[in-house]
């Protein structure tokens, strides 16, 4: 009997040892070195709408909840606790209460409490006295009625309407919790968080340095001693530095499809992963200015878009086609391909689309001898200009004589908002792969980023309805109805979702790249170096 107990204990110990092997294999220490393509405008994630800020500074903070950093797909099912240990929804799904983690300290030693959550949402809801200089995601929280503190370690969000995807917004890298005791101004230059890494310095044009937080509440994390992000503006120089082995990894999605072959050939040991960037290229048609206020004309322009050509030229055939939501398999809400093909302009028969577009144009009085003259306005940045040139070429086929109007990036949004354009080529980035983000920001009446001023009551109703829907399959059906409506109304025709690669050397371990967002996976607490 005793020997059986001993042997059972031995087996148990062996199994336990085997189970703990991966953990034991992880090495503590080292500095993860990668480069950044540009200076982040500031260090304050809440005040920026660029991944340039989220990427290096997400590791300084914690959220209430977070998309699981070890799972490649962001969805409501992959949301895990962070500063909130748990959460519960009320019966009517209009309140969500978070139990907060105790014993957490800010990097300056002060304790974290529910008040900090309250302060953060006062900033985001525009209620704070000393507010944010810019508040680009206020629209995300249009459904928040109130944030109620229940003592020091519990907080309840009261919503105007049920919104299952509210948790997805909180789980984004864009939603860190800020301390009450540090002003927004200081957060723009010296951010203080509770996250796995402390902010050390940010020298413009040089470097961003983060150091391990020794008091991190998650014991044993992070593995790295430090993160060093060098800012290198020249793409050729930074890629050269990477292939020369000066960095452990590239900046996320910095390697374009054409460049990927070069990197692979010059750094054969590097591991590269091509994935969507969450940015989609789209066509803006000013429906408030004649002759573009004629829906038939807008439809003809939508029909003229040959997405495959865009894909072949810009993405070597690896971009695929998509509607407004990121397409599957990476995207969670995108239409299945066969359904997408039934939308106007998405059919495989390009000649048929063009014939229909030409017939519409002729019906409107345009033809080879009387083309419609217009300017395609876009920003003076290669990723905007290149597709604009292809678009101009494609529009020629439907009697449109278009000219490229390159606009300085400083006045682009002002020009578009004023309606001082006829046709524009735009890029739109999505931080969270969720219709509540994309549709609400870009297609609802009165939204600041709804540049074409598209406003359709049926679309509004469907957008509100899908937001309340808890059943994922039913919600998908609603989302696809909205997609069809947007395509038929030529609200903002989507040309393609962009893809790019991230590369790293084999010594970088524990890195999991999120497949449907580049904004939510830069916590780096599970990353370690096998050097």
């Amino acid at each position: 009997m005793r020997s059986r107990i001993l042997s059972t204990a031995a087996v148990t110990l062996a199994v336990a040892a085997i189970m703990t092997l991966p953990a034991a294999a992880q090495k503590q220490g080292g500095t993860l070195k990668y480069y950044h393509r540009d200076n982040p405008p500031t260090t304050s994630i809440h005040e920026e709408a660029t991944v340039s800020t989220v990427n290096p500074f997400m590791a300084v903070f914690n959220n209430l909840v977070l998309f699981d950093q070890s799972k490649p797909s962001n969805s409501l099912d992959t949301i895990v606790p962070d500063l909130a240990e748990s959460w519960t929804w009320s019966g009517d799904r209009k309140q969500v209460t978070f139990k907060l983690r105790q014993g957490v300290r800010w990097h300056d030693g002060k304790p974290f409490t529910a008040k900090d959550v309250g302060c953060t949402f006062d900033l985001l809801l525009g209620k704070a006295k000393d507010g944010l200089r810019l508040n680009p995601r206020q629209v995300w929280y249009h459904n928040v009625e109130n944030v109620r503190l229940n003592g020091d370690f519990e907080v309840t969000f009261e919503l105007k309407n049920p919104q299952p995807s509210f948790l997805a917004l909180l789980a984004s890298g864009y939603t860190p919790i800020y301390p009450c005791h540090v002003s927004p101004r200081d957060m723009r230059t010296k951010p203080v968080g509770t996250g796995p890494f402390r902010f050390v310095e940010f020298k413009r044009n040089e470097v961003i340095k983060l150091a391990r937080n020794p008091d991190y509440w998650k014991k044993g994390r992070p593995y790295l001693d430090a993160i060093e992000v060098r800012i290198i503006a020249s793409r050729s120089t930074r890629i050269l530095a990477f292939v020369s082995g000066e960095f452990d990894m590239t900046y996320d999605t910095d390697v374009t499809i054409p460049l990927l072959k070069d990197v692979k050939s010059q750094a054969p040991k590097a591991i590269c992963q091509l994935r969507p960037t969450g940015v989609y290229t789209n066509l803006l048609v000013n429906s408030e200015a004649a002759p573009f206020n004629e829906p038939k004309l807008r439809r003809a322009m939508a029909l003229a878009i040959d997405r495959k050509s865009f894909d072949d030229i810009l993405g070597e055939g690896q971009l695929g086609i998509s509607g407004a939501m990121q397409p599957p398999p990476e995207g969670f809400w995108g239409m299945p391909e066969e359904m997408l093909r039934s939308l106007p302009g998405y059919g495989k028969d390009v000649e048929k689309n063009l014939a229909e577009a030409r017939a519409i144009m002729q019906g409107l009085g345009y033809g080879p001898d009387k083309p419609l003259k217009l300017k395609v306005s876009t920003r003076d940045i290669a990723i905007y200009r290149d597709p604009a040139v292809i678009l101009i070429d494609q529009l020629k086929k439907i009697y449109v004589d278009a000219e490229l109007d390159v606009v300085d990036t400083t006045i682009w949004h002002r020009k578009v908002t004023r309606g001082d354009y006829s046709v524009g080529l735009n890029l739109t980035g999505l931080a969270v792969d969720d219709p509540d983000v994309n549709f609400v920001e870009n297609y609802t009446c009165g939204s600041e980023r709804n540049y074409t001023h598209y406003c359709n009551q049926e679309a509004e109703r469907l957008i509100a309805e899908q937001s309340k829907e808890a059943d994922v399959e039913k919600r998908k059906e609603l989302v696809w109805q909205i997609e069809r409506r947007l395509a038929e109304d030529v609200a903002r025709p989507v040309i393609h979702f962009q893809r790019a690669a991230t590369c790293w050397y084999p010594q970088v371990k524990g890195l999991v790249l999120h497949q449907n967002s580049i904004y939510n996976g830069a916590r780096f607490e599970d990353v370690w170096l096998d050097k």
């Binding site: 405008p41 503006a233 010059q266 300085d408 400083t410």
Partner: protein
């Protein structure tokens, strides 16, 4: 001479005042300001919030008041705060000046060390194979775009030879830094040395045909004495002028080199500041470059009198 110096100094102050007005006005004529750019970056278009930010930064004040505030601060040594990093502009600018100064100094040294002697050799050996080779080298130096040459040099020295790293961390010592900067300095100095080589050659050819050179030869002076003591000294004035212009140009003209070689200097910082319409930084840096240019010109003018005793500045 004293009165001339005072006149020149007053003219320098007037020039700098003119530059300050031009740069101030030009920056505000260029479309967009920092608020536009910040809001653009955030994809936001709320006019009310933008106006609030403009008021916070003092951009809503009349342009004359803005100018007086800036120039008053400048006179007191207060360059204001950068709009982007919200730090004192001086703190952002000062650490970057030595980096660019070292790079520009090395590049200038490279151009003089190679350009002037090779120009002399090319003139002395006119129409020989050596002359042709040197002329081809100098022409290629003038025609190769610096960004392309820079990338080629990076490929060679970083990727294939592995002699230098890319400037990705602060070098441990001044010697290390100079070594690291020597390659980009050579890339920049190549163009300047080509210019100096051609100028030295043509200037020397002109002087070498003068009667006094023939006299020196007739008197049995050695070729070295003729070329360097008699000819070069008389041919040096236009070379000094070009060296002065190059020195001034290098302080603000290293944008491409600093970008390609990833050197955190003033020129790249200036371009970044222009992109963000960071007025306090742009204005201060342009004024700094203007001061350098005006001072170098002044020094060059004074050097004329030292190098050529025939030149006298009348009171």
């Amino acid at each position: 001479m004293g009165a001339y110096l005072i006149r020149r100094l007053l003219l320098m102050i007037l020039t700098l005042f003119g530059i300050s007005v031009i740069i101030f006005v030009m920056l505000r004529v260029v479309p967009g300001n920092i608020a536009d750019i910040l809001f653009d970056a955030a994809g936001m278009v709320s006019q009310a919030e933008k106006q609030k930010l403009e008021a916070e930064l003092g951009l809503d004040k009349p342009i004359v008041i803005q100018y007086v505030n800036w120039i008053g601060g400048l006179a007191r040594g207060d360059l204001g705060y950068t709009y982007v990093s919200e730090q004192p502009a001086l703190d952002e600018i000062l650490p970057r000046i030595p980096v660019t100064a070292k790079l520009a100094g090395l590049a200038l040294m490279f151009s003089i060390v190679f350009g002037v002697p090779l120009g002399v050799v090319s003139a002395v050996r006119q129409n020989t194979l050596l002359d042709y080779v040197l002329r081809v080298i100098s022409l290629s130096g003038l025609s190769l775009p610096s960004f392309w040459l820079g990338l080629l040099i990076l490929m060679a020295f970083v990727r294939y030879l592995g002699w230098i790293p890319i400037y990705t961390s602060q070098p441990a010592s001044l010697w290390d830094e100079l070594l690291l900067l020597s390659i980009p300095a050579a890339a920049v100095g190549f163009r300047a040395s080509a210019l100096l080589m051609r100028l030295t050659r043509s200037s020397m050819l002109e002087v070498l045909r003068q009667d006094y050179i023939r006299t020196a030869r007739a008197k049995g002076a050695s070729p070295a004495a003729i070329n360097y003591k008699h000819a070069l000294r008389n041919a040096v004035l236009p070379i000094i002028t070009i060296i002065g212009i190059e020195a001034a140009f290098l302080i603000g003209g290293l944008i491409v080199t600093e970008t390609v070689f990833n050197i955190p200097g003033v020129a790249r910082f200036l371009v970044e500041a222009i992109r963000w319409r960071d007025y306090p930084v742009v204005q201060s840096l342009v004024m700094f470059i203007a001061v350098v240019v005006v001072t170098v010109n002044f020094v060059v003018d004074m050097a004329y009198a030292v190098l050529d005793p025939r030149i006298k500045y009348e009171d």
